[in-house]
Amino acid sequence: MSPSDVPGFWESWFLWRDPLAVAIIAAALCSFVGVYIVLKRIVFVSAAMSQASGVGVAMAFMLCSIVGVDPHHAPLYLHPVPWAILLAAVVAQIFSGNLGNRRLSGESVIGIVYLVAAACVIMILNSPRVTQEAHEVNDLLYGNAVAVPPEQLYIMSAAAIVVAVVHGLFGKEFVFTAFDPEMARTLGLRTKLWSLVLFVTFAVAISVSTRAIGALPVFAFTVIPPAAALIIGSRMWSVFAISIVIGVVSAFIGYYVSFHWSLPTGASMVIVAAAFLAATMPGRFLSKGRR
């Protein structure tokens, strides 16, 4: 389809309203939690959690098949979303501990979880019980970003509100625990608990967003906007704000570009976010000059 064949973007707002709203909320959420992920130097956590939540979705479908329940009308305990969050939360529990040790680095632990989770997804999707629905499961696992059911918007909004409230209340505990866990422990903060809560918010943000817009843009939004924001922001609050703005604008422009030129939506968002990161690079040199 050439650009001239595409109906006007604004005229067809009813087509993109919900998918774009979901993409924008997901981008804002991932760009927000991504600041911690980048600061803690654990960027592959996002990829591992996406895969883990994928295992949850695949398991939900498998269980529905075993129990004989239609997965589209599954009760809550067999619904893919709680299973995706549960599996991502289990991974959050693993990652929230002291990642790695002298013999095995944190990156290795993350890589192992990613590989095992990816293998589990492939195994489950190739099981005869789920094969028929594999295509649909794949959409659920890695998102679509073009067509989203209305419930997706509610789930995405609820996840964003929960994460925002938790971070609004406990932001100082999260920052202190991430910045200097030993001092925090010395002062009586329950660092293991706060670290777990922080990682569970990552799990919620990543698992719900992956279902909505796909693993690639989620991974990108948890890394690229925070990285750009850390280059040009000088305070925690400004870094969070810049990261969210870059994430949201990238989602919008990426969606527009994808709509107009019939390009893959997730990849378009990633490229736009990367362009923002490239644009901040001069800021890095300028700020170096100021120091």
């Binding site: 209340l169 030993e182 850390l230």
Partner: protein, 251 residues
């Protein structure tokens, strides 16, 4: 008044002690130097006192019936400077242990933090990014953070590493002034000479094979003791009321 008592406490990792049993006390207002070669177990001993590591054997006693408030200044290299925090925000963290979860620091926390920054002569550093400070300035801010929690015991891990001579001296003089306010100071250093003049009591650790020596400067700062501990010929000289400690050349 004794704040902390270690009676035969063994410290280490995964049940394996790295030091022989330790007998020592930390009194109110004491100035203690924990010294020893690199990798000798100094930090492990202090991390156990701070409850960051469980003791391998024995228990740490708190005669007052409660754990005293510790202000901890970790090695500067262990503090992540990639966080976009100002010096004031770093110092304010010292109050987070006294602020309930979900609550923002109040007026008293802000005042106490400003006072701590003033105490270490870092008021003018408050708005500056922590990562943009020099090594000595960062060290002052970290000390301010530890002071902000109104500690009974201030523990500093290698506080003079990487500092130039004047900065090292002013840092040690500053720490000595806290002891006069009733705050117990525990300095960990591999630079025996640097801390010896600024503490009253020394704890010399040298790994599992050597007993932990605890005593006054006069008792421990002798050539015989240090030569035995370090297994090298060590000379101790007094110059203008300062101790000068050095390894003697092979003759």
């Amino acid at each position: 008044m004794s704040l902390v008592e270690l009676a035969g406490v063994e410290v280490g990792y995964h049940g394996v002690p790295v030091l022989p049993p330790v007998q020592m006390t930390i009194d109110k207002g004491a100035a203690i130097g924990i010294v020893g070669p690199n990798g000798s177990g100094k930090t492990t001993l202090v991390r156990t006192m701070l409850d960051l590591l469980p003791p391998v054997r024995g228990t740490i006693k708190f005669p007052s019936g409660r754990r005293p408030r510790f202000g901890y200044v970790p090695q500067r290299a262990s503090v992540d400077v990639s966080f976009p925090l100002t010096a004031y925000e770093v110092a304010l963290m010292g109050r987070y242990g006294l602020t309930k979860p979900g609550r923002r620091p109040g007026k008293q926390d802000i005042e106490r933090t400003r006072a701590a920054l003033a105490d270490v002569g870092a008021t003018e550093l408050s708005p500056r990014p922590f990562h943009a400070l020099s090594g000595g300035q960062r060290q002052r801010v970290l000390v301010a953070r530890a002071l902000a929690c109104e500690p009974e015991i201030l523990v500093l891990d290698e506080p003079t590493t990487g500092l130039d001579l004047p900065s090292e001296h002013s840092m040690l003089m500053l720490l000595r002034s806290f002891a006069t306010r009733g705050i117990a100071i525990v300095l960990i250093s591999h630079q025996l000479g640097a801390v010896a003049d600024h503490v009253e009591q020394l704890v010399v650790v040298a790994g599992i094979e050597h007993p932990v020596a605890v005593g006054s400067r006069a008792e421990l700062l002798t050539s015989e003791r240090l030569t035995k501990i370090y297994d090298r010929p060590i000379a101790v000289r007094s110059f203008d009321e300062h101790s000068v400690i050095f390894v003697e050349h092979d003759k």
